[in-house]
Symmetry: C2
Subunit: 419 residues, 2 copies
Amino acid sequence: MKAQILVIGDELLAGKIKDANTQVIAKWLLKEGFELTRVVITGDERENLTQCLKLAWQDSDLVITTGGLGPTEDDITKLVIGEFFGGKLVENPKAKEMAIKNYARIDKEWSPDTNSYHLIPEGLEVVPNPAGLAPGLACAREGKLLLSAPGVPRELKAMLEGPFLELLDQHFPTRQNDQRLLTIRTVGIPEERIFFELMPNLWKELSQHGKVSSLPQIVGVDIHLTFKGSDKELQEKKRFWRERLEKSPLASYIWAYDLKPIEEVVLEKAREKNLKIAIAESCTGGLVAHRLTNIPGGSSHFYGSVVAYHNEVKTHILGVKKETLKEFGAVSVETAKEMAKGVINALQVDVAVSLTGIAGPGGGSEEKPVGTVCIGMANKNEVSAKRYNYRGGRDYLKLRFSEMGLHKLHNIINDLDVS
Amino acid sequence: MKAQILVIGDELLAGKIKDANTQVIAKWLLKEGFELTRVVITGDERENLTQCLKLAWQDSDLVITTGGLGPTEDDITKLVIGEFFGGKLVENPKAKEMAIKNYARIDKEWSPDTNSYHLIPEGLEVVPNPAGLAPGLACAREGKLLLSAPGVPRELKAMLEGPFLELLDQHFPTRQNDQRLLTIRTVGIPEERIFFELMPNLWKELSQHGKVSSLPQIVGVDIHLTFKGSDKELQEKKRFWRERLEKSPLASYIWAYDLKPIEEVVLEKAREKNLKIAIAESCTGGLVAHRLTNIPGGSSHFYGSVVAYHNEVKTHILGVKKETLKEFGAVSVETAKEMAKGVINALQVDVAVSLTGIAGPGGGSEEKPVGTVCIGMANKNEVSAKRYNYRGGRDYLKLRFSEMGLHKLHNIINDLDVS
């Protein structure tokens, strides 16, 4: 069963906002057994929108639209969908009731002067919005289904998890998902070395089990194997490939076989070994801590981070020696080591990493160009540091630095013998 | 002149990665005078991709594709583009030379066995990739232009700024951009109150000057007015609307008339008033500091942040009293005040905000539900704190908390009399 997404909004085409919904819907469709064949982003413009809707509807079993359902005059999705399916906007008692209830929820009184949330194209179904004010739409015709949600990510998510799921069950009750994904995640080795040097037959070998793709990540490469099968078959293939790869030259580069982010893996390992962790960050400016705190429930093991952006904070809070800064510079393995050791002492934790580097665009030199980062790794007894060089713009460098810092934290937690 | 973007990659349709390129290209197109009418995301699948290419080409003056130019077997963009324009893959001396040079840059030797980067569809132009290994493509026909770049964001950016810009200059030398944007940014007031209560004629009034759109932001609403005109006209309209709105009931809610993010505004104001700033973060876990350090060159005024995720860090480093935590809880205006004051003392700065709240999904109670945040605001002499309640999932709440924290920091810097 094929699906398409229609993302509607001038603000997307003008580059004012980033499309946050496609990935969410794509994952949901995969889970629900649909193959997403196309995503079209288009503006709040009648003719263009109608054409996109026509193309999407003719090629799919399910079309999901997001955006253009708000109260302001540029929101024309409801109008266009109505025209396409031949229904004029008419007062819908269910929609009116929803509007009154939704406004009561935010202690407001709704009236037909407030907006046109009570008007729905004739013959179409109004869909409740559990997290917002603008209702959604549904239209079932020719064994196909169209679902319309507002573009606000929080509201879209709530609709996918609630009313849209019910509508799928109603209209596609026999659907099933037999798509399975096996992931092999590596770090510290480029794509081409994997497939052309270390294991020149890997792609072909994997292809016998399904569709292969190779995805360069922030500081590593993920290999994905997609196939149709059962969960049992997935487990079997996982076991097979784990054993196959453990004896391969790729073994030491593999860090996971599932899609959990490195920050989640770090927190799981810290919990397993009952270790307290902390970070000292200069160039990443809080990003490592931000990523660790994106995972719920981490506060029992992740204690905190000292973002020592100014050198005075490095000396005051982390106890980095002024002489070290003077002799080796803020971006040096020496400073990284003192930062890592310093945060262990200040926050009274078991393990820590520190990051000090140059994210650019300014601040680079011939000896220490933009992209240089020194990562310190410490436990209560030992400290070491290593220097890396990356390429990229400021945002990307911060991300790469933080990713490598988390991998280093993973390593020191793994290496620590707590038995 | 009309443009379309074709984003190619199975990993996007499977929801494995987020499309990071569309926004970048959309901004670039706007700047270069093109109207982006549609973005299509599709997979590495021959038939579908060919159809998308055909549709994009027939309706546009410029088509940009990203993705599917890598070395692995699922990368078929080059093949499909070749077929569409009627050119078989042939050895291209310029492409071969590029491959050899690019590999030399990373201290590797390239040979035709390494990959097929030397093969380019007959009649098409190879485009250098300043930041990566896989070259791009260009095809000029019927007064139109197709440009193909790899999907890696860093490489795409480098191509847009370099070789693609040169190709635009060559093929569309007379293009000009007369699109202008006026922005009115508000905080602390919902969309419907602006347009239906406070200023019911605003939308109509603005519409006389151009196309209006209203964009709810993380904790506020941006109003955009787009029109065709000169920079001088933009300045005139800006002056007009500034004066008009300063006397309106909306005045106290407006915080900016341009698109700079709040973190950049904060750093500019801190520089203007020569103030040292710091953050104490619990629930935002480093996000406020991360955002401030996304702006280059801030280290002279942004000193750092203490991410006090565990309560022990709140007491050890920030000097929050154990009794305060016991009596009022970690999420309280009392704790927020002590955190703000504490980070001013610990990091020896002039102004600071603190954030302590519940980002969920766990940890909420009836009295303090998920979405509660207490924000402390301090300068060297005064401290205050305020409690807010937001709705949303964990990621979104962290973002909203951080946004409000930055607005509060903006306020205390604005209010501080340093004359």
